[in-house]
């Protein structure tokens, strides 16, 4: 809520004027029954035509002024709602981009997306409606009651009974049905899951010939949903008839009291009509108010979810500035006793890792799934901060580097190749916005994808969102090209050739070795064949460095390395020879 007010404050003028004009409009509406009473008593009663005409013109005039007020109010409300949500969304986007990897891991991308889209939209509707109605509805309800008292206090007492009774009916039904609706929503989620599951698993389901059973299971699941819906339906269908009965019963009571007072000359028929009209106004407003409250509670929940993101302050502030000059003779990358524990994790993902790589060397990192390979390379561009130990890049502690300057010198191709909608050129430009076509083509060539891209139309070939128009191997190669194009000092390939066949993989590795700008290369792989030629190989097992050295050294000294190597080569050695 607080966050919301923060952005709403910028539209203070609009958010005050909106409801204010809405109130003025409501006030005019409340006068209408009085005018009608005046027409009946003053005009018809006395036969004064001129007076009648004048009063009717007032009706039109009030209508017109009401229209003007209302339009002004709608405009201000819309402006405040749209404006504050737009600002909030913009700020949220910027805020998210400052969050560190560990923050993002905790939050998860899909929630961030829903919060930016549907939650924000919900808030906008909520703010807009609230500014328009929140003051108006209670004002009309109580205003109508007060007006009724000014007309005739004893008759107006009916209102003091009716309003609480109506409120209980409207809000009671609302409160009772809300938890049921939540249950319905949950059941519906289950139904959605069933549909999705059956589509993604179509091959398996058909392979096992389970089509009929799955259909039956779905039918049962949906039947449960329908049964629950019926229950909610029965309850919420009560709202309209119940309020109808209450209001009409109140009108009968009102007319009864009115009749007594008219009979004894304390009240005119016109006044009775006015009271009758106020009664109808209350009902309309109360129903609107109930709707509004539903929307509001939803919006408040959504605003709360957005605020939660704002409250996650970045655990690693972004900094920019000139890169420190490299210390002569210092290793390109140096880890000493580095450990990392992900937030919320019970155990270290990386424990006490020390190694160093000289500029221009090739570093291989091998190990099983979950052994900490990706974690290790993610520390190099400071995507995470080590929980213990120090990392030095070019001799400088990593936190002495401005983060942006550090990342500019590193090209990383992630395990899961991520591409963006646009052209091949746009994607490569992400690596280096000033790169020439020639430079891009060189990168494509080194990544062994030049031919394929040329076939697809060269640098201007389109890339769909998520790169869905490319195969897995093509995506990987393109993301490698994107890393190369920025001519980084450190090139990180995080298992980025797993979808490639061995021949292409080998050719790519060779090309990377031959790059003219001689980067320090870190290759992560599960294939021993991909790393055998590295200057230094790190062997990771459950987050620990269990061996480092060249291929030959490791075969001698490292049991885990031998095991990995054997599992990939030995059988062939035995069988093939």
């Amino acid at each position: 809520m607080k966050t919301l007010f923060l952005y709403l404050k910028r539209y203070r003028k609009e958010s005050v004027l909106g409801p204010l004009f809405k109130l003025l409009e409501a006030a005019l509406e409340l006068i209408v029954p009085l005018i009608v009473a005046a027409i009946i008593d003053g005009g018809i009663g006395t036969g004064d035509r001129a007076y009648t005409v004048r009063m009717c013109l007032y009706l039109v005039l009030f209508g017109l002024v009401g229209l003007a007020f209302s339009l002004t109010a709608q405009y201000f409300a819309a402006k405040a709602a749209v404006g504050c949500v737009r600002d909030m969304r913009g700020a949220l986007f910027t805020h998210i981009s400052t969050l560190s990897y560990s923050d993002l891991d905790t939050l998860g991308a899909s929630t961030l997306i829903t919060r930016m889209t549907s939650d924000a939209r919900q808030v906008q509707t909520g703010v807009n409606l609230t500014l328009r109605l929140f003051l108006r509805s209670p004002f009309v309800v109580f205003g109508a009651m007060i007006m009724a008292f000014t007309v005739d206090a004893p008759s107006a007492l009916t209102f003091t009974v009716l309003i609480p009774a109506l409120s209980i009916a409207v809000f009671g039904i609302m409160l009772l049905s809300m938890p049921l609706y939540r249950k319905v929503q949950k059941k519906l989620d289950g139904v959605v899951l069933s549909v999705r599951e059956n589509l993604t698993g179509a091959r398996v389901i058909r392979a096992y010939c389970k089509e009929e059973e799955e259909t039956e299971a779905f039918r049962q699941k949906h039947e449960e949903l329908t049964r629950l819906e019926h229950r909610v339906g029965r309850l919420s269908a009560l709202l309209n008839p119940l309020t109808y009965v209450l209001v009409n019963a109140a009108i009968v009571w009102l007319l009864h009291i009115g009749a007594i007072r008219v009979d004894s000359g304390l009240l005119t028929t016109g006044q009775v009509v006015a009271l009758y009209n106020y009664m109808s106004q209350i009902l309309v407003e109360l129903i609107k108010l109930a709707d509004l409250i539903v929307t509001m509670t939803r919006s408040i929940a959504c605003a709360g979810r957005i605020a939660a993101i704002f409250q996650t302050s970045s655990s690693m502030p972004m900094t920019d500035g000139p890169a420190p000059t490299a210390i002569d003779g210092a290793p390109a990358i140096e880890f000493s006793h580095v450990s990392l524990r992900y937030p919320g994790a019970g155990d270290d993902s990386l424990t006490d890792v020390s190694f160093s790589v000289q500029p221009g060397q090739v570093l291989g990192i091998i190990g099983g799934t979950g052994s900490g390979k990706s974690t290790l390379v993610n520390l190099i561009p400071r995507l995470y901060d080590a929980t213990e130990g120090t990392i030095r890049i070019d001799g400088h502690p990593i936190d002495a580097w401005p983060t942006q300057a550090l990342r500019r010198r590193i090209g990383i191709a992630m395990q899961k190749a991520v591409l963006f909608r646009g052209s091949v050129r746009d994607n490569l430009a992400m690596g280096d916005q000033s790169a020439t076509d020639e430079c891009m083509n060189d990168a494509l060539r080194a990544a062994q994808i030049k031919d394929i891209i040329d076939e697809k139309g060269g640098l201007d070939a389109p890339v769909t969102q998520g790169g869905t128009n490319l195969s897995g191997g093509q995506k990987q190669r393109l993301s490698v090209a994107r890393a190369i194009v920025r001519h980084p000092d450190i090139l990180i390939l995080d298992d980025s050739s797993s979808a490639l066949d061995y021949a292409t993989d080998a050719a790519m590795r060779q090309a990377i070795r031959d790059l003219p700008f001689r980067p320090t290369v870190c290759i992560v792989s599960q294939r021993a064949a991909s790393l055998m030629h590295a200057d230094r190989i790190l062997v990771l097992d459950e987050g620990r460095l269990v061996g480092q050295g060249t291929h030959a050294e490791l075969l001698d000294t490292c049991e885990v390395y031998r095991e990995i190597y054997r599992s990939q080569f030995e059988q062939v050695g035995g069988d093939a020879v």
Binding site: V32, L71, E197, R206, A259, V273, Y276, T369, G431, V572
Partner: protein
């Protein structure tokens, strides 16, 4: 446009009536209730008018007033009951129709050819089954009743006004088009604004989806600033169009309200003047009549606002209905077999006879593929990524039918028997393992629900899955997340292998794991694979050279074609693509270490 759209619409209507038919009694009941409530709701104000007329200073007819009140209360009670019935019945119809359509469409998707499922994103189909069905049922049914009561109210109030005073009723009728005209004017304006808003919203969502969805890559490249700029641009545009759309759409109510208040004033004026002139005439126009008339005017103008909204919703609902029923009208997998043809006691001989296949006619994939597999033989399929290995699996399992030639099992053309018959003969383990949102036990038993718990555990033990299963929260009873989220890819594959093992198929189709599994789990998986394959006709998409080398026949695929075919020795001798492929992977072993070196390391 119209001509292409009409046949679809016509079919849609056909479907709609088809789905409403079973609920015809409810629909009729609902219409009757609507009729009742509307008429009564119109009649009650008339009685209130009469009641007001009965009040006169000192000369109130109390007995008449009392009986009038009783009548009103009675009618109000009846109206309320009818109204509750109507609302309840309407909801009921909506829920039932939604249920019927969803179940039917769901059942239908189970029989759609895989070519359809492969070509359409899952999300889109899900949204058709869930969201579109909802939009359709709610929009059409609730919209229909709203429209019905709305029209009824308009006609009813008009008749009532006519009975009270013809001139005033006509005056109202004359002024109504004004309100309609204004509402229409605004609606058309806002419609295009809303379309633009939706469009920009779509753009923004795509931008968010991409940038936030992949924020890690964005950050790794220090691309945040550019991403923020891109977003800001879309965000500003959305803000602008959204302001316009919100504001203009909010014009309808105040404006029509104003027109209504003009009509109200006109009626008040003419009514009042009439009352004054009619004083003392034989048919006096009473204050009660005026009150009733004013109440009717209010009721009369209200539905006009609603109906324009309902019409828009109606359009929406029909568009959704088109989408749902288009899915429903997709042809299912054709049945090609004779009723009594069956595959029984299959030995496992598979022959591919001059098989031809393509996904798109302009891109032939498989041409003249001949292959003869004896029972128990192992066929390895190798080739670079994306060479069409899975296509072959699709054909063997009859996920797709061949476009030419034939595939035979034990000499029987697989198109001459049912798909189920073919598929149950195979056990299939795919690289991308699919698991159900159900317990581990249920997943393992998926192919053979009658398998005992002992059998299941035995199978799990064989494939080295028993250990990690028992370590899970509830052991075998642990319910897996959607897609088996809490398991690693390797563990999922082990479960899939156990699942296959439990149903004891005659033949196998296996897609070996690649890089997503660590080497130790991979060793387990390979072991399990070998065990599974023993004595069974097997087709493997192979990544391990040991499987390849030991296979009875190797199919080398490239760009969708089988370019080489033979045993390892034959292919090596031939010196073609296979040899290049093989050497690229093992050149290093030859240069650095020989097989005996590895022996020494032991």
């Amino acid at each position: 446009m119209k001509t292409t759209k009409n046949p679809l619409r016509k079919r849609t209507w056909g479907h709609i009536f088809h789905h409403l038919k079973p609920h015809a009694p409810l629909v009729i009941l609902s219409v009757l209730c609507a009729l009742g409530t509307t008429v009564l709701a119109l009649y009650v104000p008339l009685l209130f008018g009469q009641a007001i007329d009965l009040m006169t200073e000192g000369a109130t007819d109390w007995t008449a007033l009392g009986s009038l009140f009783l009548r009103i209360l009675l009618l109000v009670g009846i109206t309320a009951v009818l109204r509750w019935c109507m609302e309840f019945i309407n909801r009921r119809i909506t829920y039932l129709v939604t249920r019927d359509i969803r179940t039917e469409v769901f059942a239908h998707t189970e029989h759609l050819p895989l070519s359809y499922l492969d070509a359409h994103p899952t999300g889109e189909t899900v949204s058709r089954v869930i969201t579109d069905t909802d939009t359709f049922a709610e929009g059409l049914l609730l919209g229909f009743t709203q429209m019905f009561t709305g029209l009824l109210t308009i006609v009813g109030t008009f008749i009532c006004m006519l009975t009270i005073r013809v001139e005033i009723a006509l005056l109202v009728a004359l002024l109504t088009p004004l309100s309609l005209f204004i509402a229409r004017f605004i609606a058309t304006r806002t419609h295009s604004l809303f379309r633009r808003q939706a469009q920009t919203q779509g753009e923004q969502t795509a931008c968010i989806d991409e940038m936030i969805g992949q924020i890690k890559t964005v950050k790794a490249y220090g691309y945040e600033a550019s991403a923020c700029d891109t977003f800001r641009e879309v965000n500003t545009r959305l803000g602008d169009v959204s302001l316009k759309a919100t504001f203009f759409s909010s014009l309808v109510n105040p404006t029509t309200r104003f027109v209504n208040s003009v009509i109200y004033a006109a009626v008040a004026l003419s009514g009042a003047l009439l009352t004054i002139t009619s004083v003392g005439s034989s048919v006096p126009f009473t204050i009660g009549s005026l009150t009733a008339l004013l109440a009717y005017v209010n009721q009369y103008t209200k539905p006009f606002n609603e109906i324009s909204g309902v019409i828009a919703e109606f359009q929406n609902a029909l568009t959704s209905a088109d989408r749902v029923f288009a899915l429903k009208d997709e042809p299912t997998e054709p049945i090609t077999h004779a009723k009594d043809a069956h595959l029984t006691d299959v030995r496992g001989d598979v022959t591919l006879d001059d098989v031809r296949f393509f996904y798109r006619p302009e891109r032939p994939l498989i041409e003249h593929l001949c292959l003869s597999v004896k029972a128990g033989e192992h066929i390895a399929i190798v080739g670079p990524t994306g060479c069409g290995k899975t296509t072959l699996i699709n054909l063997l399992m009859r996920f797709y039918d061949v476009k030419g030639g034939a595939i035979r099992i034990d000499g029987v053309d697989i198109r001459d028997v049912s798909r189920a018959d073919v598929r149950t003969k195979y056990g299939m383990v795919l690289q991308d393992t699919w698991l159900k949102h159900a317990s581990v036990l249920e997943n393992l038993r998926y192919g053979r629900p009658e398998a005992t718990e002992e059998e299941v555990m035995e199978a799990a033990r064989i494939v080295h899955a028993h250990g990690f299963i028992t370590r899970m929260k509830d052991g075998y009873a642990t319910v897996l997340d959607e897609g088996g989220g809490q398991l690693s890819a390797g563990q999922k594959q082990l479960l899939a292998i156990a699942r296959t093992l439990i149903c004891r198929p005659t033949m196998l189709i296996l897609d070996e794991a690649t890089s997503s599994i660590d080497t130790r789990t991979e060793a387990y998986v390979s072991e399990a694979f070998d065990l599974l394959m023993k004595g069974r006709t097997s087709f493997l998409v192979a990544h391990r050279l040991s499987t390849v080398v030991g296979a009875d026949c190797i199919l080398v695929m490239r760009d969708g074609n089988i370019i080489e075919q033979g045993t390892h020795a034959e292919l090596m001798e031939k010196g073609g693509f296979y040899r290049t492929l093989y050497n690229s992977q093992f050149a290093h072993i030859a240069s650095i270490t020989s097989a005996s070196d590895v022996e020494e390391c032991k």
